[in-house]
């Protein structure tokens, strides 16, 4: 079996009396899409934040590319190749779509302390950025200022910026949210192809997408993983049905 790209052991995180993560152990293997589903407030975003380094776990470890990164900052993990999208879009609203994408490229090449030649005139940055935008179907909006994008378009840009990083693993927090039927379908296709480049830890409430994409699914309830398995196993699990899916399976 291949070495997991990303791995957690016994992650615990409490907010006051609430255990948002209660001993989470899971991994992300090369080439796979691992979906994490669970009720609202189960601790999915909290898990992602611990993986990306935005919040520090109370207990447990995070390993990325075989290295213990528990103590590393968000920036350091991102530079190692861990890209994330946000549940609530975090973009430079006054900049253009292209500038946002270039920012990602800039981060990937970790070369921000250049003071003279214009960023948009640097072929290597611009190339990467446009490629990502094209992939997400945003090339036509390259010169649009982000604040003028609709909600769904912003969600697409979120993913595009993560693409520019050409990372070793993706963390995606509800990338489908806000996309219309067509948009979801498109993104499903994109993610499907993307897993060959880097594995994806996907949080999503859109079950059509999850069932279409996931190689494995973990179900998180009250901070604990109650089940991990293939799409079929999860669909059939009565526990999961009760806690989360309802009739949606």
């Amino acid at each position: 079996m291949t070495e997991p790209v990303l791995q957690t052991r016994g992650l615990v995180k409490s907010f006051g009396a609430l255990r948002a993560s209660d001993g989470i152990t899971l991994d992300l293997r090369p080439g796979e899409i691992h979906a994490v589903i669970g009720p609202n407030g189960a601790g999915k975003s909290t898990l992602i934040k611990q993986l990306s380094g935005n919040i520090a776990p109370d207990e447990g470890t995070v390993h990325f590319l075989g290295r213990d990164v528990t103590a590393l900052s968000t920036m350091a993990r991102a530079r190692m190749g861990l890209a994330r999208t946000f549940q609530v879009s975090a973009l430079a609203m006054e900049d253009t779509v292209l500038q946002n994408a270039v920012l990602g490229a800039l981060g990937a090449m970790s070369s921000p302390y250049r003071f003279f030649r214009p960023a948009l005139k640097r072929a290597e940055l611009r190339g990467r950025a446009t490629a990502a935008l094209e992939r997400m179907g945003l090339a036509g909006h390259a010169a649009t200022v982000v604040s003028e994008l609709s909600h769904g378009q912003r969600r697409q840009l979120e993913v595009a910026v993560a693409l520019t990083l050409q990372p070793r693993a993706f963390l995606m927090d509800e990338p489908m949210a806000g996309l219309g039927g067509e948009g979801s379908k498109q993104l499903t296709g994109i993610l499907d192809r993307l897993r060959a480049e880097a594995p994806i830890l996907l949080i999503e409430h859109d079950m059509d997408a999850v069932f279409a994409l996931a190689d494995r699914i973990s179900v998180l309830v009250y901070g604990r993983i109650i089940a991990t398995g293939t799409v079929e196993e999860i669909r059939r699990s009565p526990e999961v049905r009760d806690a989360y899916l309802g009739d949606a399976s």
């Binding site: 920036m75 946000f86 920012l103 800039l106």
Partner: protein, 327 residues
Amino acid sequence: MSREGLLNAAVLLALGLVPLAAHVMGEPFTITLATRAAILALAAVGLNIALGIGGLVSLGHATFFGIGGYAMGILASHVQDYEPLFEWPFLFEGSTSMPLIWLLAVLASALAALLIGLLALRTSGVYFIMITLAFGQMFYFFSISWSRYGGEDGLSIYVRNGFPGLNTLDPIQFFGLCYAVLCLVLLGARLLARSPFGLALGAARQSPDRVQAVGLDPKRLQLVGFVVSGAITGLAGALFADLNRFVSPTMFSWQTSGEIMVFIILGGVGRLFGPVVGAGVFVMLEHWLGDMSEFWHIWLGLLLLAVVLFARGGLVGLLAGRGRAHD
């Protein structure tokens, strides 16, 4: 060229030509006014890097302005009084050479900006405004009671410092010098705004989470921006002191910080030429309104109000259109 580009060229040209015309017509005071405008613009260009691009609303930039001023005052006063600044490890008598003074002013204010920035950047938003103000006030009160260098009375330098090949006492030559410095810095600021650093700094203002997620450190970007910004304002301080041949704690006062900020907002935040237009207009208003009535501050206040309320994006925004250039 875009409308804003044309406007910028016109402003720069006017700022350069008016003093020349004044020189020909024998109106040295107009040259002094233009010099003042150019120097204040330079200070504001400095702040505009932190504020316009980085969103760091510093109400303490007078700190750097004052440090630049005192760098000049201290260096020159030691020469003037024939008391060496220090004798160990080598004899240093102070200096009356502008290039050296500038260098030290820039270094000193950059150092101060680094230290202040390290502490102040732990906070953000309104707290940042206030903590920078606090540092400004510390310097202000310190300089008032620092009697070695004149305390509240300040330091008078009788002769303007020298620049190789120029007679700095001649108003038009001194103006030319300041103008050249301003142009150079503006060029630098323009490059910086479009550079990778400028892009990243701007993003750090708008969405620090995003910047972190792509692997960049927003605080460090902001710190670098703050230092660059402080250093430029420090340089302006040294020039301002030379213009007046005088430094005093007023350079450190919060009103000075406020005025530098006013130039920017008046001209247009984040616009390359915002500070230049703002400082120019402010100096002119001060000059004209002052002659009109004893209560001219009322008119100044009303004018400023009108600009904030009705000219979003400042005067540059009003003249060149709201949207910022995105290229």
